[in-house]
């Protein structure tokens, strides 16, 4: 095959490959012509090509050397041309890689306001300190060159690739078979991908899947194309990399071989040719312009895969016609404009190994390698860390993230340092690595490098040395494809890296992102890296914690995906309110910035965005209203259409207070007041009132003391509404009785809580007082309940529950209870009604039957009096009524029954042991039944829950 000549020469290692002339003699015809054209363009038009691999430190060093020697008048870089506008910000001294330029597709954010969280069409253009593109920008600026991005605008590109995405999945099916590297680099067609934003604009699918490079890997004994790259390029000594002509010649040959593997139709379909048309046109424009007013050479920094196409297009070669034909007659016109932002990026998403397809794997390692080369070349003095390729890049705004005094000089020293760091990381995680092991690993790495004819131990040599010397059993290192082990984690940490970049304050970063960063920093949450962290907060006692919680909650509310509440009181959902401390997990990923960028249209500050979201929610509530119907259907019948639910609005109140936006409460409060007038659902009113009362209890930790009075006032008003609505309970239909009793129990708790609410807070206004909240309204509710209890027409279960509760609260005397129970269960009564009554009573106060012998007798008598058929008819309900007892209570009841009937206890209180299989069988049956019901259009029979659970499967 075509590759053989060059591959064989490459096999000889550095020396022969560098004899450029002889290499080209053995190359395929088209390649040789290309190499000639490169030379011609260089000599005749001053166009120099810097073919690079994205995120390759070797290429970065060569680019730097080229720029310093050539001192070009213009440096043109692959990357959507609208990014040119951002160059001043990229050059800003506070910009610290890794960063990325974020594009949000062609539409711009303003017009896509409606679906801001879809993430469609977002793309990252990541830049690390060791990215050739980054170095080109910085070094180009230093020599005063004109800088520009020249690729097709992202909007056009994204549209073209979007249309293709369906086909790309099948078209490159063969790629999946040759190993995991570099797969799925287009990203948007992979539904399983967890990170919708991590789509890179620097794809290198073609290199990963090239036949020629695969053949080269086989010949060189390399496991994949990444190692081939290491062997051929990264393994060169610092001084060799500074010899940029040779490096670029070789990179050109390497990638052109891969290019020859692909047919024009493939490259046309995925937009490569369109992009190359744009790049070639811009290069020609710039070169012609500079030729007119003699300025100097032009350096073109692009992914090496495109270089052959650009050269052919520019030199007029026949193969270049496909690209040239795509250039419009009158040129592409002025530089396209588009929305793009600078965001911080991290190593995790830069790592090709983790499937994001950004190019080279192990960014942590290559960043340090780049630093080691620079030190060796004397281009980087003992900088405080190896984080930045540019000594000026140290931002004064923040301290250096690591305390390493000075990095290793040269790649060989780096190798030892890496092995030591892995050993330390592993030891810290419980996998002890001894000093002799470290030294034997260093020795082993050196020998592996010698064996593989590399100038110094490269990435794979180090990884192999770790595998050889740090593993003392058969379990492997652990990591992708293997179970997680401490050593694997340490390797991932050292090779993957943890860096997170920084972008300058200014227009390049949307004000919202800046604001959020300041807010988050102000409360001392750590966002210098993208390591997940946990914050334990005691908001009740510590003001600083309160502030932290507020920011975390605020970001959670707007949907930034920054942190989440792991445990502790959740005032909005009303969970865990008794807990004192709360625990949040947070992590500042590029994703957070991307999400924030998507929200820029909502406002410039976090507060503004939150307010917009709050109003959005409020409008939704006010507009559509009836989320109310969720609870009991009782009373929610007629005349409630269009009204908001008290509970939902109260929830919004809670939300506003939790995120510290109490100042915007009045609007919501007034909504709540109107809702209280219109909501006809007692359950919603009661839940809302309880929520409000809960907020009042948490007023200190929420920093909402100033609203305490208002909250109590609202509770009081809710009580008044409840008093009015209580009557509806009496008319509950049989099937809604359960919910109604739930409401009733809640209402009773509300009354109790309200009665004690005012006591603790002394200086409360209006509604509160020594006597609790809303005294008169409370009395009204109690009165209404009493009336309902005595009303003949009250639904039997509700009546039973009211009676039981009244007895427990001491409002109903013993004799009344017994009379009523006997009355309800008397022989003449309808068994169904009687059992409903009993069920209500049992649910409201299950232990009543144990503590009140008269009630026990009454129930006993009533059950005995039942006819066989009637008994069977009510048995299911009856059975259910007794499930409210706790096991010990059931046992005591059984004892009573046994005494009464003369049976043994164990005959009455039978424990049924159910195994997991029984449960599974039951569930299966349940599902089947539900399916049958649904098929027959009777899904509502199964209850809403069952219908929901099967709905997805049906």
């Amino acid at each position: 095959m075509a590759v053989s000549g060059s591959a064989a020469s490459a096999r000889e290692g550095g020396a022969a490959a560098r004899r450029a002339d002889s290499v080209w003699e053995r190359a395929p015809e088209r390649l040789r012509a290309g190499a000639d054209a490169v030379r011609r363009l260089r000599a005749e038009r001053g166009i120099h090509f810097a073919p690079v691999r994205h995120h390759s430190p070797a290429c970065a060093l060569a680019v730097r050397a080229a720029i310093e020697e050539l001192r070009p008048a213009a440096v043109l870089i692959e990357g959507p041309e609208e990014f040119t506008r951002l160059i001043p910000d990229l050059l800003h001294e506070a910009t610290r890689p890794p960063i990325a330029v974020l594009s949000l597709g062609g539409s711009g954010s303003a017009s896509s306001a409606g679906d801001g969280d879809s993430g469609e069409g977002a793309g990252f253009y990541p830049l690390a300190s060791f990215s050739p593109e980054w170095v080109a920008l910085r070094a180009g600026h230093d020599v005063g060159a004109e800088l520009a991005f020249v690729d097709r605008p992202f909007g056009e590109r994204s549209a073209a690739e979007g249309a293709l995405s369906g086909r790309a999945a099948s078209g490159h099916g063969e790629g999946g078979a040759d190993g995991g590297t570099g797969q799925g680099d287009t990203g948007q067609d992979d539904a399983a991908r967890p990170d919708p934003f991590a789509r890179t604009l620097m794809s290198e699918r073609y290199l990963a899947h090239s036949e020629a490079i695969a053949a080269l890997a086989r010949r060189l004994g390399c496991r994949d194309h990444d190692e081939v790259w290491d062997q051929l390029f990264e393994a060169r000594r610092s001084a060799e990399l500074a010899d940029w002509r040779t490096v670029f010649d070789d990179v050109f040959a390497w990638s052109a071989l891969a290019r020859l593997d692909y047919e024009e139709s493939v490259l046309a379909a995925d937009g490569s040719l369109d992009r190359e048309a744009r790049m070639a046109a811009r290069v020609a424009e710039t070169a012609d312009r500079l030729a007119a007013s003699p300025g100097g050479p032009v350096l073109v920094v692009t992914g090496a895969f495109h270089t052959l196409a650009l050269v052919e297009a520019l030199s007029g070669a026949p193969e270049g016609s496909a690209v040239r034909d795509r250039q419009p007659e009158g040129g592409f016109g002025p530089t396209a404009q588009g929305e793009a932002w600078l965001v911080r990026y991290d190593h995790e998403r830069l790592d090709g190994l983790r499937g994001y397809g950004a190019g080279m794997p192990s960014p942590g390692y290559y960043e340090r390698l780049h630093g080691a080369h620079l030190r060796e070349l004397g281009l980087l003095d003992a900088a405080p860390d190896s984080g930045s390729g540019d000594p000026r890049g140290r931002s004064s705004a923040r301290p250096a993230p690591t305390s390493r005094p000075a990095g290793p000089v040269g790649a060989r020293a780096l190798a030892t340092e890496i092995l030591v760091d892995v050993a330390r990381g592993a030891s810290g995680r419980g996998h002890a690595v001894s000093l002799p092991q470290v030294s034997s690993a260093a020795e082993s790495a050196t020998r592996l490098a010698e064996l593989r004819e590399r100038a110094y131990p490269c990435r794979t040599d180090l990884l192999d040395a770790v595998r050889s010397c740090y593993v003392q059993d058969d379990g492997g290192v652990g990591g992708p494809g293997e179970p997680e082990r401490p050593l694997g984690l340490a390797v991932a940490e050292v090779f993957g890296g943890r860096s997170l970049g920084d972008v300058p304050p200014g227009s390049a970063s949307p004000p919202l992102v800046r604001d959020v960063r300041e807010r988050v920093r102000a409360v001392r949450l750590v966002i210098d890296d993208s390591v997940p962290r946990t914050a334990r907060l005691d908001a009740r006692r510590t003001a600083a914690h309160r502030a932290k919680r507020q920011v975390l909650a605020l970001l959670d509310f707007v949907g930034a995906g920054f942190g989440q509440l792991v445990s502790g009181p959740d005032h909005v959902a009303g969970r865990g309110l008794g807990l004192i401390t709360e625990e949040w997990q947070y992590c500042w990923t590029p994703l957070v910035e991307a999400r924030l960028v998507e929200m820029v249209h909502l406002g410039a500050t976090l507060e503004a965005v939150a307010l917009a979201r709050l109003y959005e929610a409020e409008e939704r509530l006010a507009g559509t209203g009836t989320a109310a119907a969720v609870g009991a259907g009782a009373g929610a019948g007629a005349g409630t259409g269009g009204a908001a639910s008290v509970d939902a609005v109260a929830r919004l109140v809670a939300q506003a207070l939790v995120i510290g936006m109490g100042s915007h409460l009045p609007r919501i409060v007034s909504l709540l007041r109107t809702t209280l007038d219109t909501d006809r659902d007692l359950d919603s009113v009661v839940s809302g009132a309880r929520r409000l009362l809960g907020l009042w209890h948490a007023r200190v930790e929420l920093g909402a003391e100033e609203h305490a009075g208002e909250l109590l006032d609202l509770v009081s008003q809710a009580l008044a509404t409840a008093a009015y609505l209580v009557d509806d309970l009496g008319k509950t239909r049989a099937e809604d009785e359960d919910a109604a009793i739930g409401t009733l129990i809640d209402l009773r708790s509300l009354l109790r809580d309200a009665a004690s609410a005012g006591d603790s807070g002394s200086a409360l206004g209006g509604a509160g007082g020594a006597d609790g909240v809303g005294g008169a309204n409370r009395t009204a509710v109690v009165r209404e309940l009493a009336r309902l209890r005595d009303e003949k027409s009250t639904a039997p279960a509700v009546a039973g529950a009211l009676l039981a509760l009244g007895f427990t609260d001491g409002e109903v005397p013993d004799d009344v209870l017994v009379t009523r129970v006997r009355g309800a269960l008397t022989a003449g009564a309808d068994p169904g009604t009687a059992v409903r009554f009993l069920g209500g009573a049992m649910r409201a106060a299950p232990d009543l039957i144990l503590h009140t012998p008269e009630m026990f007798d009454a129930v006993d008598d009533a059950l005995r009096a039942l006819q066989g058929d009637a008994f069977l008819a009510v048995l299911p309900d009856l059975r259910r009524a007794f499930t409210w007892l706790r096991p010990t209570e059931t046992h005591r009841l059984a004892q009573r029954v046994a005494e009464r009937t003369g049976a043994r206890v164990d005959q009455v209180d039978v424990r049924v042991a159910l195994s997991e299989e029984d449960l599974a069988a039951g569930l299966a049956l349940d599902r089947e039944l539900a399916a049958v019901l649904e098929r027959d259009g009777l899904a509502h029979w199964a209850g809403s829950g069952a219908a929901d659970s099967t709905g997805g499967k049906a």
Binding site: G221, R223, S440, S444, L451, D464, S468, C469, V471, D473
Partner: protein, 395 residues
């Protein structure tokens, strides 16, 4: 290159031939399986010449340079050296480098992953011989690792150089050669630990010959041990011994196409070229091999390529076993059948060759045939043949 022809013992009269007894001049065909250094004598000589020509540095005590050792194992088209170990080149690199270090090399892995072959190839390339071998069994004693005595001489002359019978380890130390310790985990841990001091101090004390008598290891001495994960595994090995070895895990082949190629090649090595290439053995068609390898891979990994779960049998479904099945199927077709190998022969042989009589395994295979194979047989002729032949076997 010639065999080193070492004579390791002086135990004349026992009737057992020793390392040097098979003369290098003897026709290798007279032996079922000559050691690697004889089988590949030509390649070793080529590599030796290559080293000399290129001036490659050879570590002390080594016959070849590390680069040549690597080429011997993974092959080199350029030098006409065949590939002998497949699937994991970086592992070979690491192994070669480990041998240069102070530690021994421990190859661990499932049975049938070519650990012993790798150890044989490495010692043949490094030392020129692969015959200094201790076979680890439950009956291995310290004498096998250190030295023992010719008791007749011991009684008549007392302890002397002449009456001492050196173990392969002892010989390896004296002559600076690679010693292979096969199935080290089959030995009792106490016996394994005999190696600890040998590997760390590189000397063996012989107190019977006097207080200062010792065998000192010459450069080139090292130990390649193999350990089988299906047996007792390496967790019973003492930490002290573990520290003296570099561990390398040899994994089974995962790539299907590659395993098919491997089986094909081995088949050729065992039975000669197929009828298609002028040989007299029936050709095993590619699609039949595909069925065979797919079955092995499914059972080895515990799930099909489509992701359906499969019960993994206890028995080892290694590539070596797959080769055995292919060989047996060919023989059946040739001598008992109509001369064509079909999936049916494969199905029958899997039952005999791959199943080592475990009751539970038969059930697992039945489950596999009943579920996976039956499904595949619906629309694939080869699988249908497999299914028809296999179904009655596991009733």
């Amino acid at each position: 290159m010639t065999s080193t022809g070492t004579t390791t013992g002086t135990t004349a009269g026992t009737g057992i031939e020793h390392g040097g007894a098979i003369d290098a001049g003897t026709d290798p065909g007279a032996e079922i399986r000559p050691p690697a250094e004889i089988r590949y004598a030509g390649e070793l000589a080529t590599l030796d010449a290559w080293d000399t020509e290129r001036g490659h540095e050879r570590p002390p005590g080594w016959r070849l340079s590390p680069r040549a050792v690597r080429a011997f194992v993974v092959g080199s088209e350029e030098l006409g050296v065949s590939r002998k170990f497949y699937g994991d080149d970086p592992l070979v690199d690491r192994a070669v480098v480990s041998l240069m270090g102070r530690q021994g090399l421990m190859l661990v892995g499932e049975p049938g992953t070519a650990k012993s072959m790798l150890s044989e190839l490495l010692s043949a390339a490094v030392s020129g011989s692969s015959t200094l071998t201790v076979q680890g069994t439950a009956g291995t004693t310290e004498d096998h690792v250190r030295y023992s005595w010719n008791y007749a001489l011991l009684v008549s002359e007392g302890p002397s150089e002449r009456s001492l019978v050196p173990s392969p380890v002892c010989t390896g130390m004296r002559e600076g050669r690679v010693v292979r310790f096969e199935e080290i985990t089959r030995c009792a841990p106490e016996i394994q630990d005999t190696l600890v001091s040998i590997l760390s101090e590189k000397q063996l004390m012989v107190p019977e010959l006097g207080p200062d008598a010792r065998v000192a290891a010459r450069p080139g001495f090292t130990v390649i041990a193999t350990a089988n994960l299906k047996d007792r595994g390496v967790h019973e090995m003492s930490a002290a011994l573990k520290r003296r070895f570099s561990f390398e895990t040899v994994a089974p082949v995962r790539d299907r196409a590659f395993e098919i190629e491997l089986v094909q090649r081995q088949l050729e090595a065992e039975l000669g070229p197929g009828s298609g290439s002028g040989g007299d053995r029936p050709e095993v068609p590619l699609d039949v091999l595909e069925v065979l390898v797919t079955v092995f891979q499914d059972l080895r990994t515990g799930s099909t390529r489509e992701g359906a779960p499969v019960k993994r049998p206890e028995t080892v479904m290694s590539t070596a076993e797959a080769v055995n099945v292919a060989v047996a199927a060919s023989l059946e077709a040739r001598y008992l059948g109509d001369g064509t190998v079909t999936a049916a022969e494969v199905a029958r042989q899997i039952a005999g060759v791959a199943l080592k009589g475990e009751e539970e395994d038969a059930r697992r295979l039945r489950h596999y045939v009943d579920n996976v194979v039956r499904e595949r047989a619906r629309n694939d002729k080869r699988w249908k043949a497999f299914f028809t032949a296999a179904e009655p076997l596991w009733r």
